[in-house]
Symmetry: C2
Subunit: 243 residues, 2 copies
Amino acid sequence: MSAGSDISGVAALLFDVFGTVVDWRSSIIAEMGAFAAVRHRQADWAAFADDWRGLYQPAMEEVRSGRRSWTILDVLHRESLDKLLDKYGLTGLGEADKDHINKVWHRLMPWPDAIAGLKRLKTRYIIGTLSNGNIGLLTRMAKHAGLPWDVVLGAETAHAYKPQPQAYLANVELLNLRPSQVMLVAAHNGDLAAAAATGMRTGFVARPREHGPRQTRDLTAERSWDVVADSFAALADALGCAP
Amino acid sequence: MSAGSDISGVAALLFDVFGTVVDWRSSIIAEMGAFAAVRHRQADWAAFADDWRGLYQPAMEEVRSGRRSWTILDVLHRESLDKLLDKYGLTGLGEADKDHINKVWHRLMPWPDAIAGLKRLKTRYIIGTLSNGNIGLLTRMAKHAGLPWDVVLGAETAHAYKPQPQAYLANVELLNLRPSQVMLVAAHNGDLAAAAATGMRTGFVARPREHGPRQTRDLTAERSWDVVADSFAALADALGCAP
């Protein structure tokens, strides 16, 4: 724990989802491999996943900057996908196929330690999402993957995309808590830095394979976050949850 | 089912909570009885519960009318409670006691059939709240009572109190569904009428003891709602959920 941090008042844990709870990259590669086998398409699906995710921040930045009115992530994902179809040979697809591919974000699979860890954490804390995903996306993902959230919150319930302060503060307020009573759990130092700036507590869980075998960023905690762990099991240990 | 209704497209069930899922009146009577025994107070706690609930609609009407800016139910409940303290001999209480009493709404107990029914319904549908309770209240109630919601929605995520149309429509939109794909389940004909007017599907579950043994309203379905049932088990049967 960092000097001066006090996590004894934490009542709720809110989780970044893409990369922290679920392995978006492996999920997309696996889904596209299965889709491609049926549709007789071939491409580098790892590159496809990385390209699609690469369009994520620029798309949200249009909203954050005010150049575009509030738009949910399902719509941004679809616009990004449409830009990549030709490059990856996904031509001539019908609307149902394109929608199915876009909704892969509703079907992402959790990291192997995630569900068991969340169940332990849930015995002691309110657990919920604080994701840039829209509420419908996060709700369907939770049902599909078995994520035991108490509450589903995110950018859409704040009408602000992380790392804007309002994305954190509006959701803390929805829980009738103060920022110091809520911990953001994330695999991304930048997300935690923005949460800490609002007064939230911070938990870093390393996901060194989020971006595949050659990941270069977020390999370790870059500040003395309140808790640093390498799995949700270790996070539950650190937060005093029974095994 | 009513003539012409089509519920085959329903993907989510959103529930009124106070009275439909939880027995607010018995819960308050029991909690106040326990509190009174420890604090040596005596009063008619059934009358207290009814009086407190009686101030609910007038308090929300101040917000619905626009005379008052958005205010969450925890705050309205507390203001109503403060008006009743003297009448029921609850004088000289400290802030901790008053807050504890106010938070009884976070600790309401479910009707006996509710949890088992919700677990069955959850296997086939997205299940969530559509309550005038604030998100923090509903989240804590669910944890306390074991209500297995997929998603916690309500007036606060719409910034509108039922029966205003926006209270329904904003939450349907948060699920990325059309009104015809969402069923409101409620024990109150007026709530269902307002939901139906937005295009939602409707499920009536009779709770003839919500207001105690001399209840006069909402004893039966007053229109041919899409589904009419006398318990969540019967609702799950009617919606084709496995036992």
